[in-house]
Symmetry: C2
Subunit: 202 residues, 2 copies
């Protein structure tokens, strides 16, 4: 019997075809606009197979962007506890990921997003839908302010990652995590819950 | 008379040879460790010619790193005035550069630093010797804290540039400059002159 050369359910080619289609769909239409059904159609497989491999749209997205960690698993620990300590806990968890073995994948994603517009789109979707929205939905702040608050938090955390792990400016590059938590935690706290127009006099 | 094919003083090859030698010297030995004499020797020209083309080590460095602006011209305006408004003025001046035609060169420098270790070294030297040192030397803060304060400022400003001009996360990507000055100015102010271990209770 001649072997078929086309895709068979369950093989690596199929999984990769789904991931390629997912990257294209998420970059083009965003996380909210891309459906598992559309990804399956683009990869020429049954939607049930996408569910079988990846379980959920969140997990498909994380695999497609090569996410270093699943924020859905990390963030509940950050969000538990008093809101006044949220900034510190977020900086501590963020540093924990980048200083861990997963940090290599995080650096790769960041480098790729800086040089490639499609990966930049995927990183934006990752930040907004997997991280920032999950945090800000828990906070008692004006919904209209949430996007600005979220992108300010991202500006500080991404800048911290770039300086510590890519440009490697000292002493941020080798500072103890708790030094950075104490210095940067209050910044993130203010961006999340503080008064953003609280401009000092002068 | 046969034309000589070697370098002649005053031609474009000579200028480029000096810049190439300067990039290598500054990346390898840092701004403070590299001398005009050593750059001239590596480029096989007379040190007087380096002075003739570039005037000073600062200007040679700015040309070698393709600096989008000369912080030596911009910073006096930022430093003039009350110290309480320094954070805001620095964010305003920073946004002014990135939002101007010079921003294209700034984005190119940033992209290159993220993908190339040598350019990363040059960017570090640029941040420390051309920007941060000039600001922190003017402030009444413990000299031992200056490097940390400087690298924290850089983490916020570089993160702002990455989010606004490279990853383009909204609404930071298209926010009015004064919105960002009001939101981020106090962060930069605290990093420059505030209490960095001022951790909120909890």
């Amino acid at each position: 019997m001649a072997r078929r050369t086309g895709r068979r359910p369950g093989n690596l080619d199929t999984r990769q075809a789904i991931l390629d289609a997912a990257r294209a769909a998420f970059a083009e239409r965003g996380f909210d606009g891309a459906s598992i059904r559309a990804v399956a159609a683009a990869a020429q497989v049954d939607p049930a197979l996408v569910h079988h491999y990846f379980g959920s749209k969140d997990r498909l997205f994380l695999a497609a962007v090569h996410a270093p960690v699943d924020p859905g698993e990390l963030l509940p620990g950050v969000l538990a506890g008093d809101h006044a300590g949220l900034g510190e806990r977020l900086v501590r968890a963020f540093l924990g990921v980048w200083d861990s073995p997963a940090g290599t994948a995080a650096v790769a994603l960041l480098r790729s997003a800086v040089s490639n517009e499609w990966t930049a789109r995927l990183l934006r979707e990752f930040l907004v839908t997997q991280v920032l929205r999950r945090i800000l939905d828990q906070l008692d702040v004006d919904p209209a302010e949430r996007p600005l608050r979220g992108s300010l938090v991202a500006s500080q955390l991404i800048g911290l990652a770039v300086l510590r792990h890519v440009v490697r400016l000292e002493p941020v590059a080798s500072a103890a995590p708790e030094t950075l938590v104490a210095a940067i935690g209050p910044t993130v706290q203010r961006y999340l819950t503080g008064d953003l127009a609280d401009v000092p006099a002068g």
